[in-house]
């Protein structure tokens, strides 16, 4: 079973991302939600995951720290991490890409933009 973890402190944002993923053809994937980075790490440890989508600005552990933790972990560092955030601009995007993010999308996400960013992963069997 394909698995996607969605980390965002806003239930509205998580719902929106879920809906966009379903629209672009990921409806078969198990979508697991987390309200912050620490919870996302817990979810990642529970089962093999194919994609992590994370906001940046979250309580407890923000998305940038989460990204660093994932990329520093030998078991997780090949996990694609897509950042969907209201706090993205060219400067921040460059920082996140240098940390290993798959891509950065500014909120509100649209199915078309999400599809474009995830297209490279489709051959890997997650969609």
């Amino acid at each position: 079973m394909k698995r996607i973890v969605i980390a965002d402190d806003s239930m509205t944002a998580r719902m929106f991302i879920r809906r966009c993923l379903q629209i672009i053809g990921f409806s078969e994937a198990a979508m697991v939600e987390a309200e912050h980075g620490r919870e996302a790490l817990t979810r990642l440890k529970e089962a093999p995951t194919d994609l992590l989508i994370t906001d940046l600005n979250m309580p407890v552990m923000d998305g940038e720290v989460l990204l660093k933790w994932v990329k520093a972990n030998p078991r997780l560092n090949s996990l694609p991490v897509l950042v969907i955030t209201s706090a993205g601009n060219p400067a921040k995007e460059a920082e996140l890409m240098a940390l290993g993010a798959l891509g950065v999308i500014n909120k509100p996400v649209s199915p078309a933009v999400l599809n474009q960013k995830l297209e490279p992963l489709r051959g890997g069997g997650i969609g």
Binding site: T12, A13, N57, T85, A87, P90, A91
Partner: protein, 148 residues
């Protein structure tokens, strides 16, 4: 500079609501009235500032219907509060992305519900909008933004 601020604010509000709820926000003469809900978010970097968004509850319910594809009466208050916070979070990010140079990063706080602002009262501007026959208000505080 003031023109840039007005344009960036207007674009952020319009684009956010269009993309999130497929609803059009137009400039208005008056702001939110009646029973309302207010959320605020602090800008920490590159300068201290604060944005506060006030929506009348009926309008928030209509936006919720559009976003969640559910009747407003089925949307719990917690969902509407979260929705309002997410709207402001997105507006703030889009505003700063448009207003600041592309090489300038920024840092936002977490949205918090409540009528009272955090920054001192000195220096506040209001923008009024109309959407679906209801008005709402966006307030900005912070000398670095409002200084002419």
């Amino acid at each position: 500079m003031t023109g840039n601020l007005d344009r960036a604010i207007g674009a952020a509000v319009a684009e956010t609501l269009e993309n999130l709820a497929f609803m059009e926000a137009l400039p208005a003469e008056e702001g939110a009235q009646g029973e309302t809900l207010t959320v605020g978010v602090l800008i920490h970097d590159p300068f201290p500032a604060e944005l506060r968004l006030t929506l009348p509850l009926p309008l928030l319910g209509k936006i919720g219907e559009a976003v969640y594809a559910l009747p407003a009466e089925e949307l719990e208050e917690q969902i509407l509060r979260d929705l309002l916070a997410e709207i402001l979070n997105t507006v703030a990010g889009r505003f700063l992305t448009a207003y600041l140079p592309p090489e300038q990063s920024f840092r936002l706080g977490l949205p918090e519900l409540g009528d009272e602002g955090v920054l001192p009262d000195a220096g506040e501007r209001c923008w009024f909008y109309r959407m679906d026959d209801e008005q709402f208000t966006l307030r900005v505080r912070g000398e670095a933004l409002l200084r002419p």
